[in-house]
């Protein structure tokens, strides 16, 4: 009973938040509603008894990813709306038809997978975090290490890409020099 109420409540909230993200013109509204939607999504993970995934969702998505976006948006003048001209409806129609097909396939997929066997069954007596740890550090150890290397590469790449000309300190420069530097960037 509570599961049903929680499911419909959070489904409504998540869909509403993500709709605001997609349809709003203001980038700051989009960012805050996206963060709210991410937290509401973690509720589904708790409902599905994937406690560790829910905690990771809150920490990584709303803690790290959203903070990264918030810092990234300081570089853009996000108060100004980007004027968007929407055109080429033909492409949209074709893609919409393909999406409809995809939806049918996704709804039909559980019928095909009815006799699926569990490779790594859930142990209710262990608890979710322990169970995840057991599988992650035995069967999925190599993908885990590869993911760690990938995150390291992404971190170095992000620093190199975003940190160009960070050695120039604007606080120690004269007004004219700053104007000259900014003018050079915009070209």
């Amino acid at each position: 009973m509570f599961e049903v109420i929680a499911f419909y409540l959070f489904a409504f909230l998540t869909i509403a938040m993500f709709s605001i993200t997609v349809f709003t013109k203001n980038a700051l509204y989009a960012l805050s509603s996206l963060a709210a939607g991410m937290i509401f999504i973690s509720a589904f993970f708790f409902l599905l008894e994937a406690d560790f995934l829910g905690v990771v969702q809150i920490i990584v998505y709303t803690g790290a990813v959203m903070a990264l976006y918030a810092f990234g948006m300081m570089f853009f003048d996000s108060i100004n709306d980007v004027t968007e001209k929407i055109s080429s409806p033909k492409v949209v129609f074709v893609l919409t038809g393909m999406i409809a097909l995809l939806v049918v396939v996704m709804f039909a997929a559980p019928i095909i997978g009815e006799n699926a066997q569990a490779f790594y069954p859930v142990h209710p007596e262990y608890g979710n975090a322990q169970d995840v740890g057991l599988v992650l550090f035995t069967k999925y150890l190599i993908p885990f290490e590869v993911a760690a290397v990938m995150l390291l590469v992404a971190m170095i790449g992000g620093i190199i890409l975003a940190g160009k000309k960070m050695d120039i300190s604007y606080t120690e420069m004269e007004e004219q020099d700053i104007d000259k530097e900014i003018g050079k960037d915009i070209k």
């Binding site: 709709s19 589904f44 980007v82 890409l161």
Partner: protein, 99 residues
Amino acid sequence: MILNDYLILSTIIFVIGLIGVLRRKNLIMLFFATEIMLNAVNIALAAISKFHGDLTGQMFAFFIIAIAASEVAIGLGLLILWFKRRNSIDLDTLQSMEG
């Protein structure tokens, strides 16, 4: 709650993200829409993991979260670089090679 409820919810959220990718011209909105789509897939994977009693779905969800985090780091770096160069994050400014 049966598996199909979660899959329908996941599809609705995925389609919202897809509408965002198709409709928006602001590059940062495209990033947001991508995050929405990745989250929709995570819900589906967690639901299948629960209803089939298998932990593989949750494992894939973890790796998707790791991929999303690195995508944001690289993507925002490139976006900041592009904004410094063109002073705009409109998608149409990417179209610099018109034949």
